[in-house]
Every structure is written in structure tokens, then in C-alpha cells.
Symmetry: C2
Subunit: 116 residues, 2 copies
DNA sequence: TTATGAACAGACTGTTCATCG
DNA sequence: CGATGAACAGTCTGTTCATAA
């Protein structure tokens, strides 16, 4: 494990939550997160979104289905869903990430206290 | 700039503060930080301490002097001090790092709020 | 343009190795 | 062992390129 939480873990966490909320495919999640983080000056890179989703499939948490959007020109999209034991695995993963987030917050808080 | 604050910047910040407090040389600072962070489960790696000090010298913030300890066997140590404009440069650097720390804290706080 | 993916290059960093008294 | 430094290897990640409808 690294010093600070990795961007990958951070985004995987959001991907899980978005799939829980039935927000479906990569590009949409990317745009949603971009909008969501705009105020904080953070723009999640496209590649990290897809890499995170691929990771979660490799982890056995999500699986993919192909769909065609009905609106414009039947653009193909990849939707993500929990596997049979995906929710349980996701719960464990989120627990780990939560611990990491807490650890990082403690480090940052200490750094501010010690140096300012 | 990366997603989270780099360990390097984090440690450089501490190095500056320790030099402000006239705590002198690398190994000593390493041991002090190790002790200091033990409770948080973080052990700053030796290499990062020296790399950070070398960075600060390259940045023109610190300069080095050689000394021999009088206690045991005249072990040579490298002491660090602010250059003429080092304190001013350090002030600017610390300001940048503070902004980065704040940004990271905001991201972590949002992640906890959004996903838990 | 929307949507997905991969390749590439560079930064960051943990471990190990080297040196010296 | 105390003290400093560098090398190496692997991971992480931002940018760019590719492809397709």
C-alpha cells in the first residue's frame, strides 16, 4: 500500500456507488464525476474511469452487458452490474477503502497541525 | 500536479519545519518522524527523507554543512540550514503545500460523504 | 460527438545495495 | 550500529492515439 490513497481506489469506490445507484456506463459516470468535482478543481481522467471499471470486472465484482442507446444513433454502451457475490465483495472492498480514507485524513490533519 | 499530495512534498514540508526548529540532520529527523507517525501506521522511508533534503538544497532553500558528532566516534553528519533567501522561499513553498493539503482534505471528505 | 480502449512515457516510491567510521 | 546516498524495479497515472457508430 502506498503513502496516500491511489486515484484508482478512489475512483473504484465511486464506480461501485454509481452502480449501486444504477447509473450505468463509463462515459456517463465520467461526465457525472467531472461535473461533481469541478468545484474542487479535480477532473478525473477518462483513462482512470475505464481502468477502474476493468479492474472491478477482474475483481469479480462487476460484469458487463452491451446495450444500444435508443435516442440518437443506437450508440453502443457497456453497462455494469454486480455479479452474484459482487455486492458482498464490494462491501468488503469499500470497507478497506474507508479505512484507507480515514488513515489519509489522519495524516493530512496531522500535517496541518504540525506545520502550520 | 497529481491526484493526491506526493509523499515527497509531504516530507519536504516536515523537513522545513524541523530545520526551523533547529533539528539538524537527516537520520535524526528520520527517527523523529518514524516515532511521531508510529501511531498512525505510517513509517516514512529513509530514502524519501534524503531525497527530500536533496530537493530542498536544489530548490535553493537549504544548504549543507558537515559536522562531526562529539559523542561516540566522531561520526560525520550533514546539517541543514536556510540559505539567505531560503526562509522566504520556504514560506512560499509551504503556502503551496498548504493549498494542496486543503484540496486533498476536501477530496477525501467528499469521498466519505458520497460513498458512506 | 459520444463511447470505449490501449499504448506510451514519465513521475513516484519502496526495497535493496553500497559506503564509511 | 549510525549515517548518507544511489540504484533498481515496479506501480501509478496523464497524455496521446486508435477505433467505431
Amino acid at each position: 500500500m502506498g503513502f496516500m490513497i491511489a486515484q484508482r481506489a478512489f475512483i473504484k469506490l465511486y464506480m461501485i456507488t454509481l452502480v449501486e445507484k444504477h447509473r450505468g456506463y463509463g462515459y456517463q459516470m465520467l461526465e457525472e464525476l467531472k461535473q461533481d468535482f469541478k468545484a474542487l478543481g479535480y477532473e478525473p481522467p477518462q483513462s482512470e474511469i475505464y481502468r477502474s471499471l476493468h479492474d472491478l470486472v477482474e475483481d469479480g465484482i462487476l460484469y458487463r452487458t452491451r446495450h444500444r442507446k435508443l435516442d440518437v444513433d443506437y450508440q453502443e454502451v457497456i453497462m455494469y452490474h454486480f455479479t452474484d457475490d459482487g455486492m458482498e465483495k464490494a462491501r468488503l472492498y469499500k470497507k478497506l477503502v474507508k479505512e484507507d480514507l480515514d488513515r489519509c485524513q489522519a495524516l493530512l490533519h496531522k500535517a496541518v497541525k504540525d506545520n502550520f
